[in-house]
Amino acid sequence: MSPSSSDRGVSWTPSDRELERARARRSIHQRGVVLSTVVTVVVLAALVVGVTSAPGWDRFREFFLSWPDAKAAFPDIAKGFWINVKMFLIAEPLILLLGGLVAITRGSVSPWLTPARFLAVIYTDLFRGVPTILVVYVLALGIPTLQLQGMTTSLFWLGTIALVLSYGAYVAEVIRSGIESIHPSQVASAEALGLSRTQTMRFVVLPQGVRRVVPPLLNDFVSLQKDTALVGTVAVFESLYVAADYGNYNFNFTPFLVTAAFFVALTVPLARITDWLGRRAMERERGSR
């Protein structure tokens, strides 16, 4: 009576009702596509018209959209931007490490670690409270004045350390919130398997907790990429400083927009990659539906 299970899936031909429904689904979908296209075009057109019809549009073009100035400033900005990228690439893993350590320390229970917990609390409170630019000033100007033996006086390194200290505090709190969001039943089942507290943290809690806070972490890292420009305030020749320098000499601010384009070009792909990684992890765990 019933066909064998191997040809069950293949032998199916959709019923007329199903075909009709498929048509209905398609037309609903098409209506959605048309609507989204129209809405997008209208909004973009309104924005373009709104900006270009502003009274100062011509002057704006002259000062901010000058192609020759963009071309002239480009090589120096690119060189400056490489400093931003280097700073960011060095700072980011250090921040993750510092933030992770501080977060784990705050969640530890061992009596031996009481002073470390105490330090961790003070560190996050202090560095989250102080404006990043102040940390940059204090380190870049204060450390060389101390004339410490063996301490670097490179403004690049001091600026990078300042960013690490400042962002480490933010990231620590983000990771801690991720750790605390993991349901106690997960810890219970890990401990029931005989895992130590450290192992539980390392293999069960941290992987889940960190995955949960990837979007806010990315947020902090995009923010970090931009804040590498703060180090320009202590005369490190990163891209924003270069652009400002060019503007002051040539009385044209197009390089600012060039710099902005550099930053956007760096942050947008990062955001897409993170989205993709997150989606892939989710699909692996919950199935792609």
Binding site: S2, R8, G9, W12, S15, R21, A24, R289
Partner: protein
Amino acid sequence: MSALLEVSNLRKSYGDKLVLDDVSLTVQQHDVICLIGSSGSGKSTLLRCLNLLEDIDDGVIAFNGGEISDPRIDARDVRKQIGMVFQAYNLFPHLSVLDNCTLAPRRVHGVRRPEAEARALELLERFGLADQATKHPDKLSGGQQQRAALVRALCTNPTLLLLDEITAALDPELVGDVLSIVRSEAEAGMTMVIATHEMGFAREVASSVCFLDNGRILEQGAPDQIFTAPREERTREFLRRVL
């Protein structure tokens, strides 16, 4: 009077895997339909299809005389009238038991808070949960959580109740508490479709029992017939193993 729920030739697959194959089922008002069968036979998927949590590949589901498998239909209008309880309770951990129960009445059905809370408290009281109302779900035992989930589903006065193996995660002592609620709802005339592994319970409350195997309703009949004189060999084999 036409049937409350009429499923015809339902087909559902996940990729290559065919989960429901040509399933037809009629549920009259006040019916209690029990779905039995081994894990993976399609019981849960069938229930999820009924309140449109899953898209179907083919077939027609009619509820209250109208086709609800039409893509142009607003699924929320359908779900407003159907209550569902899950195996893993699925209570919202951030809300107290009372707030879990009043969420849908207040936000979906437009019932004002005092009335919604009065109704919820009345049900919680009836099912022995009055003193748990202000607690959060994680503070409750499994049996209490599942009873709370049942109350949550009943608070919206559904015309059809779908129960998806609601006692599967409970220890035997607590199963009774939960099933007694279901029993009293059945006696009060609630229409229900129940996926269950509790054969004794199915035999007692069901007006009709469906044996699902490999995505098909292999056999449907009155509980006495299914449990004493099943027609299909596969049904006999299944019952021999579980009884």
